[in-house]
Symmetry: D2
Subunit: 110 residues, 4 copies
């Protein structure tokens, strides 16, 4: 990767890891499990979190000077998604991915 | 569209209009025109703005309670993109689309 | 829009209209309605269709010579989504958007 | 990741690796290098390839039965991007990523 330093590459990787886990867990595990896992607001939050993780990685890969704007938004939604996954329960992998991504994006946003 | 009210539909439309104009102008007009239009930081900002407009529309279409996070980020980058397009000059359509989107997203973010 | 002719603009608009309807109907109406509407394979197809509509529009907006590749894929998944929405029933708006997009992308793909 | 088998996870990873390399190389290296690297059709192809890699990964992560449609499109554009990067020269990392992704998506498409 051209002009991206190592800290930013690490953050891109956390964003894409969180994107992968949120999207595949929502569309795989949660939709199938039903019950609390399939509550519409929970599913929407999972899909929304996946989308902002994807966009945050995108702005960093573009080398945009304004990646901070996307990283800040990503950190914020990842925190909410982690909290909601804890509330639902049995979502440890997702909670962990969201927390790691929120922390990494939080650093890049400053 | 299911659960999206009219104000939000209007904001989705402004986001997608700005996405279309920024992406097609960057990849069409700016890359071909060369000179200031093809300065890498300007092009990256145009692509980054297109991406956050796209994501902001996405969270609203999902009906996510957290669309505000994306709308706030979108309003911020649209303001920067409008300023940069004014600096470059001969980008009136893009300036207008960014300003309208920033205003609409700014309202949704509150 | 810079270098995009009118037929292509029309196809971009059909793709984005179908994207909007599939995504908002899946995440709004279908998740809430439950029953057949919330069958995981149906929801995944709606989300997948939204994604390929989005990408097909993206390649046309980029002015890529290879937009045909994306338009062909988009036409194919829109046909499947239209059929599945007919099977589920009470999804006329979605069926219509998918059919229109499939037809428009089918023309651009040749 | 919930319902995704190991072959598909490998393909998701190849798609996201190619996405990362194409996008960051186009927006970083190519835009800065100028000359043949900054030819608009080359840049558009790089951005288009990044987009279809992203979408192909997305359909697999969704667990969509129709991921084949996206994988086929992805394999096709990756082949074209690899050829174009060979023509431009000094793009070995990109050529390799595109070839690996094309091969992996080609297998998933069948």
């Amino acid at each position: 990767m051209a002009i991206i330093d190592q800290d930013m590459q690490e953050c891109v990787n956390q964003c894409l890891a969180c994107y992968k886990i949120c999207l595949s867990t929502a569309a795989g595990h949660c939709l199938e499990a039903g019950g609390r896992h399939a509550e519409p607001p929970h599913l929407r939050l999972m899909f929304a979190c996946a989308e902002l993780c994807r966009s945050s990685a995108h702005l960093m890969l573009l080398g945009s000077d304004d990646h901070r704007i996307a990283c800040r938004a990503c950190a914020e939604i990842c925190e909410r998604c982690a909290e909601d996954c804890e509330r639902i329960g049995d979502m440890e992998i997702c909670v962990l991915a969201c927390r790691r991504c929120a922390e990494s994006c939080g650093r890049m946003a400053n």
